[in-house]
Symmetry: C2
Subunit: 396 residues, 2 copies
């Protein structure tokens, strides 16, 4: 067996604290300094299990994971919370418990790909709620109502569940969750709100929004190293998704009455995922209160980037979330002629230590400003303007 | 909403490098110094996704995860490898792909609880292969053969799969995988070897052992922070467990042809789990060559602890793995009278900065010596002897 091991030595991330990182999925998952200490302290495998008496990480008293689960439930205004491998895992668990193979669920057409894959894993049929198309790509509650009616007509019964993506991955549109919840309630269908881009960065009140389930992402939006997700449920549904094992070894008689079946018995979040999620919680509770400032900052950057010829922010206006997509036909024109093709933009930004714009993409540019200071955003705007000018693109 | 956030501030693990840690599940998951550097560098959520063009963490070129997956396959002598949330997740994936609800699988009665739970999640019936009972608790290949025959008689068909726990969590017995593989082959049943306690600490050659699948645990045995598992398969079965999405959004036309359904599209191992698994790989490749030394050390400790009145190592003799369980009736007698009950032992050891003995347990003591030096093991033996003497228990 010949393996070249050198490439695994001194593994380091290129992008460090000296960079400005605009990566759409990374802004909400950056660790504050105090959490980096917890990361190191709990770095070894199974590190939180030192004093486990309970056999489940979410019940640990030391470190205080049990209290933490209760506090997260309060913070989200939901009844019960469990930790999962990510929002993707949380959605797969819910679909697995609410629907049988062949059932139909209604999702929005801006759903994250993991929503589709979670449905596929369970063998579900999906009905997609259309968006309003270019340039705003809105998901409207009325379209949900129409789609549910359509499913009822076609299948003879209501869908097994309705899922709405609270803020989508592509345009950063904030959907009207409370109105979709009312549609769900009218038809007596469980309502799942995928809050991967909202809970942890902006205020989210599950009950006020009418969610039966919230799915959240620690590594996306709770300043956690992860991967870790949060599955929050109302009391009404908690027993179905958090059911305990009734398995009994036919020869040994072994039973596992404390273990929860859909969470692999004890969910694989022990060690740094849960430690960093907990360590960042005080930071998260504080930062969601400053959401309005974050929205002001992204709006400022939108104005600055739209000064570049052809640049247009897509999705709803004005923005209500820090993830933003622009069409950028002037840059795309450069890419067609450039010897580095679409990579030129990524590379120009990289020279300036600005990271996170998808390598190769110039037709649409997606970025996230969450948590960046005005000084950093000014550098970003200047960089884009500079690059534009260097290719004779006009700045208004 | 009133939440006391103070308890989440300055979260630190009590057990640090100054301690000797005997925790049965933790010895193989400790990070070498170079991996702690990678842990910090890749600490932020989604940190390995900076240059993702592939949409799947296992296909990343930078950092070199694609090469890594191929190298891990070589190292295990298997054809294809994917990363999962843990061995528990790997088993759930395999059961989900090989068996239909109601099917029967054959497992050993020393299986980890996550094997039972993974079967329960899929709605499977389990048939347990008995062990030989006190004091050795061996799992014999003949018992597998008999159990498979029994399942055939009772259900009219062979089991959907056979799983063997290579080394079990309780006694640290090393099972005869190659012989169980022959039983599986005879009956044309897929054979899963759960190598959570073996691959990464001792040499494991999947093809030589006849495994169709290996499930491994990064946080348990590959010096990874995790949680991360490895699902290794032969070419014959790879397409079934790693099937790609065929979902198509009926309105949007969205497709996800690169995403693998059972792995949530892209498996939730991005960030520190995969970064630490990769960073530790050179260390792991080297350390498995020194397995014999590890076995010598645990045998030394067995001899020393068996000098204590009543102590007896359970499971096979001599030991072939570093996880060991002792019956310790003399300590249990002390616990019955002690004001701290069974916690006295844990607390006595804690005073001496020795961690990892289950709090409250004195009837059976499970520990793992993997990676500890002789100087440390001497301290462990001395501590046990000292504690014994202080309660008037004889040392032979």
């Amino acid at each position: 067996m010949e393996i070249n091991l050198d490439k695994y030595k001194n593994l380091r991330r290129e992008i460090d604290e000296g960079w400005i990182n605009l990566h759409p999925i990374q802004r909400g998952g950056m660790l504050p300094p105090e959490t980096r200490q917890a990361l190191l302290s709990f770095g070894d495998g199974y590190s939180v299990c030192d004093y486990c008496l309970e056999g489940r990480v979410d019940l640990l008293k030391k470190p205080p994971v049990k209290d933490f689960a209760e506090d997260v439930a309060k913070f989200l205004n939901m009844d019960e919370v469990r930790f999962t491998s990510g929002a993707r895992h949380a959605k797969a668990i819910i679909f697995g418990c609410l629907a049988e193979p062949g059932d139909t669920i209604v999702i929005d057409s801006l759903s994250h790909y993991t929503t589709y894959i979670a449905a596929e894993l369970r063998g579900l049929r999906i009905a997609e709620v259309p968006h309003t198309g270019y340039p705003e790509f809105r998901i409207e509650p009325d379209a949900y109502a129409a789609k549910v009616e359509e499913v009822k007509r076609e299948t003879g019964k209501p869908p097994a569940a309705i899922l709405l993506t609270h803020v989508d991955y592509k345009y950063g549109n904030l959907a009207d969750a409370a109105s979709v919840a009312r549609v769900a309630k009218q038809h007596d269908v469980p309502f799942i709100l995928n809050a991967a881009y909202t809970a942890g960065v902006m205020p989210v009140d599950g009950k006020q929004l009418g969610a039966d389930f919230l799915t959240c992402s620690g590594h996306k939006s709770w300043a956690a190293s992860g991967p870790i997700g949060i599955l929050a449920a109302t009391e009404e549904f908690a027993d179905r998704v958090f059911r305990k094992s009734s398995m009994r070894g036919p020869w040994s008689g072994r039973t596992f009455p404390q273990k929860e079946v859909c969470l692999f018995g004890c969910p694989p979040v022990f060690g740094t995922p849960i430690a960093t999620l907990m360590a960042s919680f005080p930071h998260v509770v504080e930062r969601v209160k400053r959401w309005d400032e974050e929205v002001e900052k992204v709006r400022w950057l939108v104005r600055e980037l739209e000064r570049i010829e052809g640049f247009r922010q897509l999705g709803e206006r004005p923005k209500r979330h820090t993830l933003a997509t622009f069409e950028s036909p002037s840059f795309h024109r450069v890419a067609r002629e450039h010897k580095r093709r679409g990579f030129f933009l990524h590379e120009e930004l990289r020279k300036r230590k600005i990271a996170g714009i998808h390598p190769g993409m110039t037709k649409l540019i997606t970025l996230n400003t969450y948590g960046l200071g005005m000084d950093q955003l000014r550098k970003v705007a200047d960089a884009f303007h500079e690059i534009a000018k260097s290719y004779n693109i006009e700045i208004k």
